[in-house]
Amino acid sequence: MMTTTAARSPWSEVERSPIADETWLEGELSPHRIADDIARPLENRPTAGWWASLAASVAALALGVGMVTYQIAVGIGVWGLNNAVGWAFDITNFVFWIGIGHAGTLISAILLLFRQSWRTSVNRSAEAMTIFAVMCAAMFPLIHMGRPWLAFWVLPYPNGRGPLWVNFRSPLLWDVFAINTYLIVSAVFWFLGMIPDFALLRDRSSGITRSIYNALSFGWNGSARTWSRYETLTMVLAGLATPLVISVHSIVSMDFATSLLPGWHTTLFPPYFVAGAVFSGFGMVTLLLIIARSAMRLHSYITVKHLDRMACIMLFTGSLVGFSYLTELFAAWYGENLYEQATFVNRLTGPYGWAFWTMFACNVIVPQTLWLRRVRRTPAILAIVALLVNVGMWFERFVIIVTSLHHAYLPSGWAMYKPTVVEVGTLIGSFGLFFTCFLLFIRFLPMIAIWEVSGMAGSHNGAAVLDAVKSARAQGSTVVDVYTPYPVHALDKALGLPRSRLPLVAFAAGAAGAAGAMGFQVWASAFDWPLDVGGKPLNSALAFVPITFEITILLAALAVTGAFFWRCRLFPGATATRGQTRSMDGFVLALRVPDQSAASRRRRGWRHGVGVLLCLAVWQSGCRGDARVRAYEYMPDMARSVPYDSFAANPVTRNGQTLQTPPPGTIARGFLPLGYQATAADAVRAGQELRSPIAATDETRHEGRRLFETFCAVCHGVNGDGDGPLVPKIPNPPAYSSTAVRMLPAGHLFHVITYGSGRMPSYASQLTREERWKIVAHVQELQLRGSPR
C-alpha cells in the first residue's frame, strides 16, 4: 500500500540503492493472475491430499468430542487431577492455544502498523488460525468447570441471586472478558479483510455460490470512498488490536502471577507470556504455511523471503523466552527465597525434569539455529524447527503449571500427576478441531488476501488511475467516484475526499466503555453488594483495570466497525452498485452516479422493521397482563427453589409432609437438660445437688435485684414478704423470712423458678439460667433479712 510518489524534496538526485528495493512476490504476477492462483482451490475440486488430511482431522475431532462428552457426563474425576495438581492438561492446553492465536493478530495488526508489506501473503491464514486457536482454547475453561451448563454465571448479568455479581477482582474473570473480546475483535478483523475478496469471488462465480459470496460481501463495490474509510478503519482496528493482543496473554499470565505459588508469582510473567505466545504462534503459522504453500503451489506468494522474516521473528521472541528462563533462575538464587529455590531445583532435577529439559532444548537451543540464513531459507528444516518450537511451548506451559503445583510449599501436599486417556484424547481432539477448521478454511475461503497482494503487485497501476482522475477533472467532468479492486495510494487526496471521522467514533465508544466498565465494577463491588474477597479493598481500582481495558477495546472496535458499515451502506444482502461492469479486476471512473438512495433506504427500512418486531416479540413473550400468570422466564436462576419448601407436600417422607416433628429426646441447640422433674422431691434433691455457678459480685447482685423486682416482686413483694400488689387477688406466697422458706438452699430456689411450685408457674421460658441464678442470689439475701412471722 505504500507506493512512492514523485519526489517532492530537493534530494531527488539521490539514487536508489539496489538493496532498498524489495519485491516480495516471485515472478511476473498480474492482479488477474493472482486472483486465479488464489481462487483456484475454491473453484476446483479438492485434492486427495486434502481429503486425507480432513479425514485424519475429523477423526481426531471425533475422538475429542467423545472424550469431552464422556467427561461432562461422568465428571472431572475422569481426569488425572488431584488435590495438589488441580490444573494440568486443561489449563496447559488453554494457554497453549491462546498463545497460538497471537501470531495472527501480530501479523495483521502490529506488522501493519510497522508497514511490513510482506505480511500480505500470510495475514489471512494467520488471522484464520487465530480464530480457530482461540476457539480451541476457549473450550478448555468451559469444560474444566464442574457444571459447564452453568457457564453463563461468569457473566455479570442482573440475576435472581441478589443480584450476585461476579468477582471482578479475579484474573479468572479477567480471562473471560479478555478471551471473548479477543475472539470478537479477531473475527471482525478477519472478516473485514475478506469482504473485498468475497466481492471478487462473487464476480467470478455464478449460481448459488454467487449468492453466498454476494451475501458475504455486503454489497462491496470497490468505491474509492469506501476504500478510504476502509483503510482508516483498518488502521484504527490495528491500533486497537495491538494493545489487545498484548493484554490478552498478559491477563492469562496473571492467572498464575497473582497467586502466591513459587514459580508462579513473578512479575516478569506478563511480557514473558506475550513473547512466548508470539513465539509459539509463529511456530504454528510457519509450519502450516510451509505445508500449505507446497500443497497448494503458492510458492510465488509465500516465498522464502517471507519464511525468512517469520523465522527472524521466531528467533527474536525465542531469545526473549530463553532470556526469561535465565532471569527466573537468577532471581530464584538472588531472592534467597527457599521455596522459590526449591521449586526451581525441582523443576530442573525433579521427577518432571525431563519435561523441563525438553522445553529448554526446543525453546532455547533449537531456535538459535535460526541465526543461520541457510536454516531460515530452507523450508524443510524450518518446518522441523517450527514443529519443535510448538512442542517446546506446550511443554513450557506444562512445566510452569504442573511442576509448580506438584511440589508446592508443604511436603504433605506434594503429589504426582499422570494424565488419563480422557485428557490426552481431549488434547488430540483440540488439534482435530483446529486442523478441521483450517482445512475447511483453505477449501472454502481465500487463504491469501487477494486484494492486498494485488495491491502490492499492481502498485504501478496507481499512477495511471491518478492521471486519469486528473485529466477527467481537467476536462471539466466531475469524478464522483473511482472503483478499484484494491486501494490506490493518494487517490483519496486526488478526489478531495475529507478525512474520515471514524477514529472519533472509536475514541468516543472506547471512552464510554472505559467509564462504564470501571464505574460498573466499582458500583457492583464497593456499593451494591460489597464482598471481602481475599482481603482486597472493596474499591480495588488496580484490579478493575484489566476488564476496563478489554471493554474499552471491544466497544471501540465494534462501534467503529458498525459506523463503517453504516456509513458505507454495507450490510448482508446489499447489492453492489457500480459503473458499467460488476467485475472487481478493473478500474472504473464514475462520472455520473444514478440516484439509488431512495430504493436502498426503503429496503433498509423494511429490514429495520423486522428487527424491531423481533425484539418486540421476544419482549412480549416475557410479559403477561395478569400478574398471577407466570410468563416465559428467560433466566429463572434460583427463583424456583430446587429443594422442598418447608410447608409443602413431600412424596418421599412417610407422612407426606416436608417438615417433620423432631424425634423424642431432641433438644434445642445450645440447650443442656437439667435432669429434674417438676416435683417437690426433686426440688429437695436440686437443693442438695445444685450450686450457683455465678460469682457473687456487686454486678450480679445488682442485676439479680433488678430481675427480682421485674419478675418476682409483683407477687412476692419488694422485700420478699409475700405482699406484692397482686396478692389480694392471689393467695399469699410465703414470705422469704418465714421458717419454711428461710432455710431453703440455692438449688431448691433455682428448681422452684425453673419448674414452678404450687400456684407459681415455671419462669424458665422468661429467664435464662444465669438470670435465674442471679435472682436466687438476691432471694437468699432477702431470706436473711426481715423478721420471722
Partner: protein
C-alpha cells in the same frame, strides 16, 4: 546536500553546555562532601539517566538496521550523536560504583543471608562487572559510529551490512548487560527485594527515553532551515513511536505494581508500600501522569503527532518524566522523604549540560545526512 555540511557547529552553545556541566560537577563534589548519601543518589540518578538515553540511541540505530527500516535512515545521525555521552557517563558510573562501597547509601542495612550473594554484591565484584558492562557498551557504540562515518567516505553496501551485524551483537549483548546492570546498580539498593520484571521495566523506560530524545532533536532540526530533510512525515512516525513506547512503559509499570499489590507478600510489597506512603504518594501518581497520561492523551490525534511544537513539548515532558521515574526508583531506597533543593538542581543541570554538549558536538562533527545510506532515498521521500 552542501547545505548540511555547512551546518554551524554552535561553538558558543557547546561551550555554554560544557560550562554548565563543569559547574554541576563542581557542585556535586561539594555536595558529596556535605551530604554524601543524597548527593551520591542524585549522581547515580543523573548518570543512569545519561546512560539510558545514550544506550537507547544505540538501540534505536540497531533496531533500525535489523528491521531494515527505511523511513528513519536520514535521521540516523541524531541517535548517533546522542550516543556520544556514553563514554563520559560510563566513567561516572564506574566511579559511583566504587564510591558506593565507601558511602553505603542504602537505608536497608540488614546483611544478606547467603554468603554467595554477599560476595556478588561486594564492591570489587560489582565494580568489575560494571567495568565489563560499561566497556561493552562503549565499544559497541564506537564501533557503530565509526563504521557509520566510514560509510560516508567509502560508500557501497558493505558498511551497511557490517553495522547490521554489529546491531545484532548489540541487541543480544544489551539484553544481558543491561539486566546485570539494572540489578547491580538499582535493584541492589534494596538487597532484599527482587522483581524479575525490574530490568524489563527499566528497559521500557529506556526505550521511551531514546525515542523522546530523538524526537526532540528531530523536531528542533525540522524547525531549522538547515535540516529541511526532516519532514512532517518523519515527525509523525516519531510521534507514533513516542505514543507507543510510553504506553509500553505504562504497561510494564502497571504489571509490576498490580502483581506485587495483588500478592501482598511482605518481602515484595515493601517496595510499593514505601512509594505509596504519604510522603511519596503524590510523586508516585505524578510519575504515571507525566510519563503516560499526558503523552497518551496529547498524541492520540493525528494532527498533534505532526506538529513540531507539540512534539517538542511532549518530548520534553517525557524527558522530565524519565528523571522522575528514576527518582522514584532510587531515592526511596536512600532517603526517608523526597527533597528538592540545590543538590538536585545542580546535578541535574550538570548532567543536562553534559548531554547537550556532547550531542551538539557529535552533530557538528559529521554531515547531518548519511549520504551513502542505501535507504536514504526512500527515507527522504517517505510519506505516511
Amino acid at each position: 546536500m552542501n547545505e548540511t555540511r555547512s551546518l554551524a557547529t554552535w561553538p558558543r552553545s557547546q561551550a555554554a553546555a560544557f560550562g554548565v556541566a563543569l559547574a554541576g560537577m563542581a557542585a556535586a563534589l561539594v555536595a558529596l562532601a556535605a551530604d554524601p548519601v543524597r548527593a551520591w543518589s542524585h549522581l547515580l540518578l543523573d548518570t543512569f539517566y545519561l546512560l539510558s538515553v545514550s544506550l537507547a540511541a544505540l538501540l534505536f540505530v540497531a533496531i533500525q538496521f535489523l528491521s531494515a527500516a527505511r523511513w528513519s535512515a536520514c535521521l540516523r545521525r541524531i541517535p548517533e550523536a546522542l550516543m556520544a555521552t556514553l563514554p563520559a557517563a560510563a566513567v561516572l558510573m564506574l566511579s559511583l560504583t566504587v564510591m558506593r562501597g565507601v558511602i553505603a547509601p542504602s537505608r536497608h542495612n540488614e546483611p544478606v543471608a547467603s554468603s554467595a550473594k554477599a560476595f556478588y554484591l561486594s564492591m570489587p565484584f560489582m565494580a568489575a562487572r560494571a567495568a565489563v558492562v560499561l566497556g561493552v557498551w562503549v565499544w559497541l557504540a564506537s564501533l557503530v559510529r565509526r563504521t557509520s562515518l566510514v560509510e560516508d567516505a567509502d560508500g557501497g553496501s558493505i558498511h551497511h551490512q557490517r553495522i547490521k551485524r554489529y546491531s545484532a551483537i548489540a541487541v543480544v549483548a544489551f539484553a544481558i548487560t543491561f539486566s546485570i546492570a539494572s540489578v547491580d546498580w538499582l535493584m541492589s539498593l534494596d538487597a532484599h527485594w527482587v522483581s524479575t520484571l525490574f530490568a524489563v521495566y527499566l528497559f521500557g523506560g529506556l526505550m521511551v527515553h531514546g525515542v523522546a530524545a530523538v524526537t526532540f532533536v528531530a523536531a528542533v532540526l525540522h524547525s531549522s532551515d538547515r535540516a529541511s530533510f526532516v519532514t512532517k512525515e518523519h515527525l509523525h512516525d516519531l510521534g507514533r513511536l513516542l505514543f507507543g513506547f510510553s504506553t509500553f512503559w505504562a504497561y510494564l509499570w502497571f504489571s509490576q505494581y498490580l502483581l506485587i499489590w495483588y500478592g501482598n507478600i511482605p518481602e515484595e510489597a515493601g517496595h510499593y508500600a514505601t512509594r505509596t506512603s504519604a510522603a511519596w504518594l503524590p510523586l508516585f501518581w505524578t510519575n504515571l501522569i507525566v510519563n503516560w497520561v499526558v503523552p497518551f492523551v496529547v498524541l492520540l490525534p493525528r494532527a498533534t503527532k505532526r506538529d513540531p511544537r507539540v512534539l517538542i513539548g511532549i518530548a520534553s515532558t517525557v524527558l522530565a518524566g524519565r528523571w522522575l521515574d528514576l527518582y522514584l526508583v532510587i531515592l526511596p531506597e536512600t532517603t526517608a522523604r523526597p527533597q528538592f533543593g540545590l543538590v538536585e538542581v545542580a546535578t541535574a543541570l550538570g548532567a543536562a549540560g553534559l548531554l547537550i554538549g556532547f550531542t551538539m558536538r557529535a552533530l557538528a562533527a559529521a554531515p547531518l545526512v548519511p549520504a551513502n545510506d542505501p535507504f536514504l532515498a526512500a527515507s527522504l521521500e517517505h510519506s505516511t
